[in-house]
């Protein structure tokens, strides 16, 4: 969903640029709470993995394709703030080095595919964690569903931005239907890839997964207090 130069007018692009800069600034502070000597090395590699998977377009319908956005996967693996930083780096490199996503649209792309997918992916993930059984095996499932929801959410935010500053006048209901339709399909791919990737790390080292921390901590707590807990 890389937005090229020219789709949105200059004021809107400046606006998303300001929002993106503010989000990255907040993420720099927030990421400090998520990263320590043990978890920081994984963050750079998650960004590299997101870049790599974004090269892999998969067919979703006749004549169209999609690729991973990666906000949800990054948020669950290394934390939502760190996820915003990782995806932002990916979009900067893609715009400057690979001419993928406009340079004036860099703020737009960071907001849509970085901030929105991290926030929605992480938000849905945490909601599901609250209602699903508190088991490590539930982490990849919750991550996958969060990832699935994050893609149409980003598509809707694009429609909102287009309503504000789209260069060509368009009937918005047509745009909404078209964007939602194709991005629901792309979201399925996003969900599957996220489920598999998070599941792979969970299978070997669940302690390295940010989104599994609460579950692991709780599991340890249960073991230690089991004699009294069973009495109560």
């Amino acid at each position: 969903m890389h937005v090229p130069d020219g789709f949105l007018d200059a004021p809107t692009s400046v606006g998303t640029g300001v929002v993106a800069a503010a989000a990255v600034g907040l993420a720099l502070r927030g990421a400090r709470r998520e990263l320590d000597d043990r978890t920081a090395p994984l963050a750079g590699l998650v960004a590299a993995f997101v870049f790599a998977t974004q090269m892999l377009n998969f067919p979703v319908a006749a004549g169209t394709t999609g690729h991973l956005m990666g906000g949800a996967i990054a948020a669950v693996l290394v934390g939502p703030w760190t996820g915003v930083l990782c995806t932002s780096v990916v979009f900067v490199v893609q715009a400057l080095l690979f001419a993928d996503g406009g340079i004036t649209a860099l703020g737009t792309n960071i907001v849509l595919m970085g901030v929105v997918t991290c926030a929605v992916g992480w938000g849905v993930f945490r909601l599901l964690q609250a209602v699903l059984p508190k088991r490590v095996s539930m982490v990849p499932l919750a991550a996958g569903i969060g990832a699935f929801v994050s893609v149409p959410a980003a598509a809707l935010v694009f429609v909102g931005l287009y309503a504000v500053g789209g260069v060509a006048p368009l009937p918005l209901d047509n745009l909404t239907t078209a964007m939602l339709g194709v991005h629901l399909l792309i979201g399925v791919g996003e969900g599957v890839i996220t489920f598999l990737a998070v599941g792979s790390i969970i299978a070997v080292r669940p302690d390295l997964v940010h989104g599994a921390r609460r579950v692991l901590a709780q599991r340890t707590l249960e073991v230690r207090t089991s004699p009294t807990a069973s009495a109560a």
């Binding site: 130069d5 994984l42 790599a52 998969f58 715009a95 690979f98 070997v204 302690d207």
Partner: protein, 118 residues
């Protein structure tokens, strides 16, 4: 079952990323992505303007100095993975808390594996 050490996992993620970007990307679907397709169908694709970095050596995920298509895309993918890793890795290493663990709701899991590979 002995769990793999942190370095083994990190190396695994790196190798997978390099293989995906360097080799598998050649087989990726080439049809327009969701937004591009919508912009064509809805008639606003032509509002796209020229990209200021469109003449760069790796523009469009190819290497302009390599004629072989497979190698050109593969080199661009590997360069991208390494550049993203250097920037994001450097940034997160700078931002991290040094010498103290990040926020944890409760203490570390008891079965925390020690790094086997040194």
């Amino acid at each position: 079952m002995r769990r793999p050490g942190t370095r083994t996992v990190l190396l695994g993620v790196l190798v997978v990323s390099l293989l995906l970007a360097g080799v598998v990307s050649f087989y990726a679907a080439s049809a327009p992505d969701g937004l591009t397709k919508v912009s064509q169908d809805q008639g606003f694709a032509d509002t796209e303007t020229d990209h200021a970095a469109g003449d760069g050596p790796f523009a469009g995920y190819g290497s302009s100095f390599i004629s072989d298509e497979r190698l050109s895309g593969g080199v661009a993918g590997v360069v991208g993975v390494l550049v993203v890793l250097a920037l994001a890795g450097g940034l997160t290493l700078l931002v991290r808390r040094r010498g103290e663990p990040a926020d944890q709701p409760v203490d570390q899991p008891a079965d925390e594996p020690v790094d086997q590979d040194r």
